[in-house]
Symmetry: C2
Subunit: 211 residues, 2 copies
DNA sequence: GTCTATAGTGAGATAGAC
DNA sequence: GTCTATCTCACTATAGAC
């Protein structure tokens, strides 16, 4: 990984690691500052407050994820081949940076921390997330229209993909107990790729395909 | 749905709702006490502290879930039929009590809140969770041994089932955006049952089965 | 079994020197 | 751009009256 270019990037890096582990409410700015090698007050020179810091961490992660995903969905392959490529690319992306899956999962179900607040900061973040979801949905629609995928509920299939791909790499200790070994080792990631690809290849195919 | 029988149960009920929404670190005991109609200090008469309260909430939820799951896995049907029944039963259980999925998901990836502590309180909770996971794994092994399911990785399949079933009902606002409507309405739950059952029926079948 | 009062700690945030 | 000092507030938890 690249060394952070500025104090700002250093703060974002250590905050990403901490928020991934313990969530928004579970992390104090004191801890972020210590890990970044700064005083607590210095954080407020770079970010207006804790929510803005969290928002920027989330946006960075979402944009990273989106860029990888869009590049493979744009490839000139059949829908089934692109589905496989997309699953593999998403899994590889999550496997390379262990913080990503946990932050993504938190962005998907931890909105309630910010219920009472106005938060225009999150508009862009939400737009990026909505873009990713819309892109995957449109891809599935294509595949159904071409008769490659069964006429599934697109929304539910997106949910199952998120569950199978993102949750897995966010599950940490419990996940390691379930699969009986590390989640991020090369073998474990390769096995996960095979298993998820096969589940959805068989699960979505309009007709029983070749093994 | 039953009215709480005691102050203790009332506290557990309101704490369950709050922890489900905002997690361990995001909830203060002041808020729990207010929602239960008690003074803050009264909580300490019923629970030794915040972690014990959280632990008991989690244990209640896990045991509820385990009991429903074990009853259907014990039914005298074929593995494929029992898989369908188990998926439907788990989905129905999560749909009936909207707090359950979020707490389960938190128990799966929020251990890091308690890293520094000793916590003998969580031994029983962890055992219940391990029992559930082991039970599902053993069931999948059976189905593979009988040649009904493909020779999948059992651990990865458990992870995909959790992702498809638990994550979905924990995804709240974002999930509603993805499926384009409420998650807990009767139609939405029925559709989710069909979709997940079909995904795993096709996805796990050893040979292309009947539609 | 519930209350008031309070201890003790740490949170997020601000002011202003350097 | 980083610091020290400080403000205000909320937190978990305890002590002890009723």
């Amino acid at each position: 990984m690249n060394a952070p270019a500025s104090s700002r990037d250093k703060i974002l890096d250590v905050a990403e690691a901490l928020f991934a582990r313990r969530g928004y409410a579970g992390v104090g700015l004191r801890e972020v500052a210590d890990a970044a090698g700064l005083g607590k007050s210095s954080l407020f020179h770079h970010f207006r407050g804790k929510t803005e810091l969290y928002c920027e961490v989330q946006t960075r992660v979402l944009e990273r994820f989106r860029d990888r995903l869009e590049s493979v969905l744009a490839e000139p392959h059949s829908p089934m081949r692109r589905l496989e490529r997309a699953i593999e690319e998403m899994i590889d992306g999550l496997a390379e940076q262990p913080t990503t899956a946990r932050l993504l999962l938190r962005s998907l179900f931890e909105d309630d921390n910010f219920e009472g607040k106005d938060l225009p900061e999150f508009e862009h973040t939400d737009k990026v997330l909505a873009g990713i979801i819309g892109r995957v949905g449109a891809f599935l629609e294509e595949g159904i229209a071409e008769g490659v995928f069964r006429p599934v509920s697109v929304g539910d299939t997106v949910q199952s993909l998120i569950g199978s791909i993102v949750y897995h790499f966010a599950s940490a200790d419990v996940g390691e107990g379930i699969v009986g070994g590390p989640l991020f080792s090369a073998e474990s990631v390769a096995r996960r790729r095979r298993e998820v690809v096969e589940l959805f290849r068989h699960g979505l195919a309009a007709r029983p395909g070749p093994a």
